[in-house]
């Protein structure tokens, strides 16, 4: 089970879906949701400065409406701050070009959002230990 998860997504309804799915699948005990990449960067900067505990895994939406930059840019910024977190994209987009960009920015996985998100999260849960020790390859969960 993942200790703590941070979700950055502008869609509030998906926060609820993700929270319930994670709880039902016993993926995580604690989950925090943000709806802006700007807010996420501030929180990460604060965490790195003050040494506050960071989430074990971060899920980032690709297009975060109302934010200064997209999910790939957020991953790049967070990766530049330091490592120690599993980070990836969760998006309804399935563009290979974007997936390559995300991989280059430091994303370890890409989960495609759909009505049936649970089977993909279950697969991700199985692969999580590999991501945590950086042995897992970039994977797309379709």
């Amino acid at each position: 089970m993942i200790d703590s998860i941070l979700l950055v997504d502008d869609e509030s309804l998906f926060h609820l879906v993700f929270e319930d799915a994670c709880s039902l699948l016993d993926i995580s005990l604690t989950l925090e949701c943000l709806d802006s990449s700007d807010e996420a960067v501030k929180i990460f900067e604060d965490m790195y400065k003050t040494g506050k505990p960071r989430p074990e895994c971060v899920f980032v939406d690709l297009n975060i409406i109302g934010s200064s930059f997209d999910g790939i840019e957020l991953i790049r910024k967070v990766t530049e701050m330091g490592n120690g977190m599993v980070i990836g994209i969760i998006s309804s987009s399935d563009e290979p070009e974007e997936q390559e960009k995300a991989k280059a920015a430091g994303a370890q996985f890409w989960i495609i959002k759909s009505d049936e998100i649970e089977p993909r999260l279950e697969d991700f849960k199985k692969d999580f230990p590999k991501y945590k020790d950086y042995t897992g390859q970039f994977k797309i969960y379709k």
Binding site: L16, V17, D20
Partner: protein, 218 residues
């Protein structure tokens, strides 16, 4: 996380009296003594209830999410249709403006044509007047020529008549003065004189007749 006996009893009591149980992920971290059947059952029931609640909420949220997506798609479609309508309206307005401009241009051309027609009619009238004036002048010139010709004819005829008369009279006078026989020349002179007078009046009559006829024709 272990729960002490007082907390355990309190939780079970609340369940019995108020039918309220623990919810959420805290249930997953509570360690239960397997020998405590009652509390194990409490935790299991609470977990099952929590899962059932979450499952129901998840289904409803997904349903709302789908409806929301449909609504968003409808909104996008509505915006597209509105945009199309706006563009069509703009095209219609532009066409109306073009039509109005064409109408104004047509009116201007009609006005120009009207003016040109009036100018042409005026020019035609001037031309007709000029033609009439030219015809009048021509007629006057023709009449003048005719009168001059008639005058010349009259003069020549009178000169001829007078010449013939004078000549014959002189010959008759010479014959009388020289004592020659005047019987033949005398009758000839009187005949000649009569004929000349007759012809002279005939010429004058003819000329007057022609003049009268030409004036009546006008």
């Amino acid at each position: 996380m272990k729960v002490d006996k007082s907390t355990r009893d309190l939780l079970l009591d609340i369940q019995k009296s108020k039918k309220i149980v623990l919810e959420g992920n805290i249930l997953k971290v509570i360690e239960v003594d397997p020998s405590d059947v009652e509390f194990s059952k409490y935790i299991k029931e609470s977990l099952d209830k929590d899962k059932e609640t979450r499952r129901r909420r998840l289904d409803i949220t997904k349903q709302v999410q789908t409806q929301n997506k449909d609504l968003l798609a409808s909104q996008v479609e509505n915006e597209r249709i509105n945009e199309e309508l706006k563009e069509t309206l703009e095209v219609v307005e532009l066409s109306n403006k073009d039509l109005l401009a064409s109408q104004i241009e047509n009116e201007r051309i009609n006005e120009e044509l009207k003016t040109a027609l009036e100018t042409a009619e005026l020019a035609k009238k001037f031309a007709e007047d000029a033609k009439d004036a030219a015809l009048d002048d021509l007629e006057i010139v023709q009449k003048k020529s005719q009168f001059e010709l008639m005058g010349t004819i009259v003069k020549v005829a009178l000169y001829v008549i007078m010449g013939v008369g004078v000549t014959t009279t002189l010959m008759y006078a010479i014959a009388l003065l020289s004592g020659a026989d005047t019987q033949i020349i005398g009758s000839t002179w009187s005949n000649m004189f009569g004929i000349l007078l007759t012809n002279a009046f005939s010429i004058v009559g003819t000329i007057m007749g022609v003049k009268y006829a030409s004036e009546k024709k006008e």
